[in-house]
């Protein structure tokens, strides 16, 4: 994004866990800060060196250690790229439990350190559930080997949960053992145009009830984001006459074991939606082939790139109640208008899209001609206060990094933050592990 710039003058690329251990031991003895870095796809400045700490890149540790096709348990080095892990398990008819737009560059160690959510969380749950074990180099250089491949192991405190989402502030994740689900035999998706945002909640309920266990993703795209996507050539998928003045769009994916069974459920759902007395949707489409399936996903996954092309984006990844998605986006737009900062001269677009099935909104505020302090001042702390007022999270899945340390208190109490500090003190008394991140 070009928003965060690091100050490191040294990058190390170890090949083994032992090397990582030696590096960290040395840094501890010399009080040198260490910034673990994966694929550098983070969005909150969590992997950059703020004060000339050395960057510890895990990219050279990219071996798959083992894969058991019966249980689906994969053990891999932290530097493995997510997409290459997907490709590794694919021939055995398994898939990774997470999937994100950055899959071609992000590394599994980074995914775990940020507790990445992604497009499949609705179906397969979070990494806190699918990660079975970790190998971590602690801030004193010692190696914590909890790389178990056991589904169940209730022997003492589950330390690995601390490192999942700790953003590299408690130790360096060097290997991971993760449960991979079986690949679906049948994948389909539908793209729907809704007249009003108010239809989202009843639509979600109907879809959940009728599709049941085969629903694997439920994504939201507001009208501003959809129009932007069309402008940049994503599509056209839907007939503009049928879309009309639709306020928002939903992409639903199904993954199941039997195509006939899934299609029957989908067709029943679509019949009910179209023939209701007061239809919840204007129109939509059902993918008719694998290439159409990919194109429908490409609309949703391509939005992030379009946003980069429109200008410099202020990105807010928040959790708010489903029913509040549109009002949050509208409130931010109103705010910029009231400050005279809405228009081609400043903020050209305010839009929302995201994993509405998980209550996760990606709010994108586009500064057409670049970041400016007055724009940031108008947005923050306004957005954080707005999210806090809904008892939401100021960072649903992107993490805190260096960008949101000042905003932590909007979603966590002082008691929580105090105890986070105590834990940090226990693991990293010298504060060498990714300093300046997560905790204010």
């Amino acid at each position: 994004m070009g928003k965060y710039h690091g100050h490191a003058n040294t990058v190390l690329r170890p090949r083994t866990t032992e090397q990582v251990s030696e590096i960290v031991k040395y840094c501890a003895s010399q009080r040198i800060g260490v910034v673990p870095q994966g694929g550098n796809t983070g969005l909150v400045g969590g992997s950059i060196s703020l004060q000339k700490e050395i960057v510890l890149s895990l990219g050279a540790m990219n071996n798959v250690r083992s894969f058991d096709p019966v249980s689906g348990i994969l053990v891999a080095d932290a530097g493995c790229i997510l997409e290459s892990l997907s490709n590794h398990v694919a021939p055995y008819n398994h898939i990774m439990p997470i999937d994100l737009g950055a899959k071609g560059s992000c590394q599994i160690g980074g995914n775990i350190s940020t507790n990445a959510g992604g497009l499949r969380l609705l179906r397969y749950g979070s990494l806190h559930g699918t990660v079975l074990g970790l190998e971590v180099v602690l801030p004193d250089g010692s190696i914590l080997d909890q790389l178990s491949t056991l589904r169940k192991d209730n022997t003492g405190y589950d330390l690995k949960q601390l490192f999942i989402g700790a953003e590299g502030t408690l130790g360096v994740v060097t290997a991971v053992s993760i449960l991979t689900p079986p690949a679906p035999q049948a994948s389909n998706n539908i793209f729907l145009a809704l007249p009003h945002f108010d239809n989202i909640l009843p639509l979600f309920k109907t879809v959940k009830r009728q599709l049941g266990e085969i629903m694997s993703a439920f994504e939201y795209i507001d009208r501003t984001a959809y129009d932007m996507g069309i402008d940049h050539g994503l599509g056209p998928i839907l007939n503009p006459d049928e879309v009309g003045d639709a306020q928002c769009f939903v992409l639903v994916e199904t993954s199941g074991g039997n195509q006939d069974h899934d299609l029957e459920k989908l067709n029943n759902l679509l019949e009910n939606l179209m023939s209701a007395d007061e239809p919840l949707i204007y129109t939509g489409t059902l993918s008719q082939s694998p290439s159409q399936f990919a194109s429908l996903w490409a609309i949703r996954e391509g939005l992030t790139e379009c946003v980069q092309r429109e200008g410099k984006p202020y990105k807010y990844d928040v959790s708010v109640p489903l029913a509040k998605f549109q009002s949050v986006v509208d409130a931010v737009r109103e705010r910029m208008i009231s400050k005279g900062l809405y228009g081609d001269h400043a903020i050209s677009k305010v839009m929302g899209y995201g994993h509405i099935g998980d209550g996760n909104l990606h709010l994108n505020v586009i500064a057409k001609h670049g970041y400016r302090p007055e724009l940031e001042a108008a947005l923050e702390p306004f957005i954080y206060e707005l999210v806090a007022s809904h008892k939401g999270s100021v960072s649903a899945e992107h993490g805190i990094g260096s960008m949101k340390t000042h905003a932590l208190h909007y979603s966590k109490s002082d008691v929580s933050i105090e105890w986070m500090r105590k834990i940090k003190q226990v693991f990293d008394p010298l504060n060498i592990m990714n300093p300046g991140k997560v905790l204010p």
């Binding site: 539908i190 067709n267 290439s291």
Partner: protein, 253 residues
């Protein structure tokens, strides 16, 4: 003066259910064919043909009386026919068969639009053979189609090696579609719903009085030999030595 009666058009679109283009093709262990337990979809060129038929109706409106899609294949080809109905065809016919042969259908067909080739065998001969058997005009590899029903003429621009060629054909005509003719539409939900109610007829070869015994026998299917890697040479002398080794000698001009 009364205007001349507008001739109505019946369009026939034969389509084929083929292995999806994105699938990695593997030869089966018996070496008798390819692994067919993979995703299938409508042959992309046939998708373009259906799209062209629907666009022709959008252009000429009531002049197009009917768009019929037909497929010869296994029962699963019904799904592919339903997709065509959802794109805008009026009715579908499935001739159920374990193997494929050339089909003949007449009775009020003015224009046949079909894909130039199927992506599983790349034979590219069905359209031409059909035109030959019927004694009809043919315009293959079409990149632009204009049908003039009143004058019973189709003007077709086709892609050839040297560029583009324009043909004027008298109806009835067989047109085969090339990639640049159009971009097929997505099936919208209202149309998917309507498609379920459109007429769908199932036939067997016996109903048509045709003998389907194949006249071709596949002896063997095998993957191409593995490519052996090349090597790097240090200088020109080494290159000459390697060329001589390979039996390539210089000839005086």
């Amino acid at each position: 003066m009364r205007p001349s009666a507008i001739r109505l058009l019946n369009i026939l679109v034969p389509i084929k259910r083929a292995v999806d283009y994105a699938v990695k093709i593997r030869v089966n262990p018996e070496q008798t064919g390819i692994d067919l337990n993979v995703k299938h979809s409508m042959n992309p060129f046939d998708e373009i043909a259906v799209e062209e038929a629907v666009r022709t109706r959008e252009r000429l409106k009531d002049v197009v009386k009917s768009i019929k899609v037909v497929s010869i294949g296994p029962p699963k080809a019904a799904e592919t026919l339903r997709t065509a109905l959802a794109m805008g065809a009026d009715s579908a016919t499935l001739v159920e068969l374990p193997d494929a042969i050339i089909e003949r259908q007449k009775d009020g067909v003015d224009v046949v639009i079909m894909g130039k080739q199927a992506i599983d065998d790349d034979a590219g001969q069905t359209g031409q053979m059909l035109a030959g058997l019927m004694g009809w005009a043919q315009a293959t590899f079409a990149s632009k189609v204009d049908v003039d029903a009143a004058n019973k003429v189709a003007t077709v621009t086709r892609e050839i090696d040297g560029g583009l060629e324009e043909l004027r054909c008298r109806l009835p005509v067989v047109i085969t579609t090339d990639l640049r003719l159009n971009e097929p539409r997505y099936a919208s939900l209202p149309n998917i719903m309507k498609a379920k109610k459109k007429p769908f007829e199932k036939l067997t070869p016996a109903d048509l009085g045709i003998d389907f015994t194949p006249r071709l026998e596949t002896l063997k299917v095998a993957e191409p030999a593995n490519r052996v890697g090349g090597g790097k040479v240090e200088n020109v002398d080494q290159l000459l030595a390697k060329l001589k080794e390979a039996g390539i000698t210089a000839k005086r001009a």
